[in-house]
Symmetry: C2
Subunit: 127 residues, 2 copies
């Protein structure tokens, strides 16, 4: 797994690791059910402390992105069969982003075009 970390960023390392894994899952580079490197392996690969990776994995587990099993290790959570909608936390983040765009002078059309562009970088679930 290839993760790009920015040591000079003000975003905590465990958050950067979490974001990169979410991006990889969203883009389909990590598929549902696929296993992730072990905590110690990933820590060694990217040159950080294993507890930092553990914190990222625990966060991803609590957010519902990963299943962690002592036998199978950490793996990407299988997609739900039924259709799921956005939760409150997601809408809050999205609304803040829409406000930032609007306050910066982006029209609704430009904002929605950007959303569409972002969505098209993601992998689509097969029906």
């Amino acid at each position: 797994m290839i993760l790009k970390l920015d040591l000079s960023s003000d975003i905590p390392l465990y958050q950067q690791i979490r974001n990169q894994i979410v991006l990889a899952v969203g883009k389909g580079e990590l598929k549902p059910g696929e296993s992730l490197p072990t905590v110690r392996q990933l820590a060694s690969d990217i040159g950080v402390n294993s507890m930092t990776v553990n914190k990222a994995y625990a966060l991803l587990k609590s957010e519902g992105y990963l299943l962690i099993d002592r036998r199978k290790g950490a793996q990407v959570c299988p997609l739900k069969e039924e259709h799921v909608g956005p939760d409150a936390d997601f809408m809050e983040k999205l609304t803040l982003l829409a406000a930032e765009a609007t306050a910066k002078g982006l029209t609704k059309e430009v904002f929605l075009a950007a959303c569409k562009q972002a969505a098209e970088k993601m992998s689509q679930k097969e029906e």
Copy 2:
């Protein structure tokens, strides 16, 4: 100005203040050119230290949302006349959000419907 702060949140107070002001500007509750409360006034209103408010104002200024003038105080930045597009930082945040949605099992259609819903809470610039 009404700001909702959550003291038990893990989001820093100055960030919460910044977010609330961006939301107010995006929704049109604060209009371009409109004056904001003074640092000391807002600090007194919401019961935080004035340096905490100052930090939020300085952040908003550095992000281009506010103009701060010693004569006029802090005011909402007037909208640019020309059409503006999304910058790299905005697209990065949007892409992460799209990845979170996709990893959670939201289809592209559901994600874009949520984006449209968020956009419609915002005020539209008059042409």
